[in-house]
């Protein structure tokens, strides 16, 4: 067994430098790497290009790094829940690239699967397709999209083991497995870190080969963005 465990979030960031391109798993606030985000804030790394489906909310998730002026550019599919984000975007402090969600996911997957580029129908005929190669397959136009190139990927899982194997819970899986595959260095924080042999190999979602550093998250707030309920009556 190759042991992937590191002591904590601070150690897990070793090699992370100003100006890097990094990925953050999660959809909204569901399945985000809270502990790694807190450690990046503490370390004060600047000018990050962040690939993440969303940009957090005010003062939570990636909103923490926005507040601290650590993000130079966001690459996302939807960014609507954050006033500070809007302020920085409109003032020109923050660069934003919006990408269709399926294309965002596939560009992560491709990066982790050794596929440099692929054709997708998403965005054909829209401003997303501007400047991109178009080819017709089966009578339908597709546009060329490229795999991401990311120095680090920060992901969050429910359970993990010493070998770096990961299991996710519910819809907190989302972009996490794809970004884990894509990162040149992938850092996973988990709610439960177990010794090797304590996870059933049949149930692993991400094999440890994709996870370079794994640690037990110290604290998880796991905020709910839109609490919706129905009445019992």
């Amino acid at each position: 067994m190759i042991n992937r465990i590191v002591d904590n979030a601070d150690v897990a960031l070793e090699g992370l430098e100003d100006g890097m391109t990094v990925m953050f798993g999660g959809f909204g606030l569901c399945g985000i790497p809270e502990n790694s985000i807190a450690a990046i804030k503490k370390k004060g790394i600047k000018n990050l290009t962040c690939i993440s489906n969303n940009a957090g909310v005010d003062h939570f998730g990636l909103g923490i790094l926005l507040d601290n002026g650590q993000i130079k550019k966001m690459i996302s599919s939807y960014v609507g829940e954050n006033d500070e984000f809007e302020r920085q975007m409109l003032s020109g402090e923050l660069e934003v690239e919006l990408i269709p969600q399926g294309t965002l996911a596939e560009r992560c997957r491709a990066a982790g699967a050794g596929i440099p580029a692929f054709f997708t129908p998403a965005g054909y005929g829209t401003e997303v397709a501007e400047g991109k190669e178009v080819r017709e397959f089966n009578g339908k136009p597709h546009i060329l999209e490229h795999a991401f190139d990311s120095s680090f990927a920060f992901v969050k899982a429910w359970k993990g083991d010493a070998a770096g194997n990961l299991i996710f819970k519910g819809t907190a899986r989302n972009f996490n497995p794809l970004m884990a595959m894509a990162g040149k260095i992938t850092v996973a924080e988990v709610e439960q870190l177990l010794p090797a042999g304590h996870l059933d190999p049949n149930e692993i979602h991400v094999p440890g080969i994709f996870v370079h550093r794994i640690y037990q998250g110290a604290a998880f707030e796991k905020r709910i963005e839109q609490r919706t309920v129905r009445s019992r009556s």
Binding site: F27, G28, L29, C30, G31, N53, S76, S77, Y78, V79, G80, E81, E86, M89, L90, L98, P100, Q101, G102, T103, L104, A105, E106, C108, R109, T120, P121, A122, G123, Y124, G125, T126, E127, V128, W158, F168, K169, G170, T171, A172, R173, N174, F175, N176, P177, L178, H205, K222, R223, I224, E225, Q226, R227, T228, V229, R230, S231, R232
Partner: protein
């Protein structure tokens, strides 16, 4: 009388067929889930990674690990499955999802849809809408026929940046049900109860084909 949001959702629910996997967008489309006709077995897909999505949880049973694409807390029904975002859009692009229902700011007579960006306003992003409209075989748009100023949202050509080209097959508004055919533009199929053909013609800027007989919607 023009339909309210629930009326639009109720009419769209009549389109559902047993065996379909269905993706509902945010807004009116979400309400469709409240009106599934008796005896129709379908599963809802939410693009953040669930098939077999159920209703909102009872208070106290909500989980931060279980949300829909609108970031609302939800439940998972028996037979549900979770998956990653690439798998989610794989099933969308490969047309395993039979029906997509989404809202729109504008629809054109050739089936273009605009629903993600208003120049000069804060742009939040397209989320999964571009992937959905580029691939789905069957797209129904749920929308108001006119904007708040009374101007038609069913146009000759979209004025806003489009989300997808020639993809919308059916539109259900507060006034009417219309199919879209590339040769005939909007084709009026049904009227909201008490709404005249003339009122629908007046509210539609794009080319509208009106058959001889246009029945009223049957909503009960």
């Amino acid at each position: 009388m023009a339909l309210d949001k629930n009326g639009i959702a109720k009419r769209i629910a009549q389109e559902l067929q047993s065996g379909w996997y269905v993706n509902l967008g945010i807004g009116i489309p979400t309400l469709v889930a409240n009106y599934i006709p008796e005896g129709i077995d379908i599963e809802f897909q939410s693009e953040n990674g669930i098939l077999g999505m159920g209703p909102f949880p009872f208070e106290g049973e909500e989980s931060p690990d279980l949300i829909n694409a609108g970031k609302q807390t939800i439940t998972a029904l028996d037979g549900a499955s979770f998956f990653d975002s690439a798998t989610s859009f794989a099933m969308i692009r490969a047309q395993k999802v039979q029906l997509t229902v989404l809202g729109a700011m504008e629809v054109s007579e050739n089936g273009d849809i605009a629903n993600w960006k208003i120049p000069g306003k804060m742009v939040k992003g397209m989320g999964g809408a571009m992937d959905l409209v580029a691939s789905a075989e069957n797209i129904i748009v749920a929308m108001q026929h006119c904007n708040r100023k009374g101007a038609s949202k069913l146009l000759k050509a979209c004025s806003l940046p489009i989300t997808g080209m020639q993809c919308v097959k059916k539109v259900v508004t507060d006034l009417a049900v219309m199919d879209i055919d590339p040769g005939q533009g909007f084709i009026l199929r049904e009227r909201a109860p008490g709404v005249s053909v003339e009122a629908i013609v007046a509210a539609t800027e794009g080319r509208l084909t009106v058959p001889e007989h246009v029945p009223e919607m049957q909503l009960d």
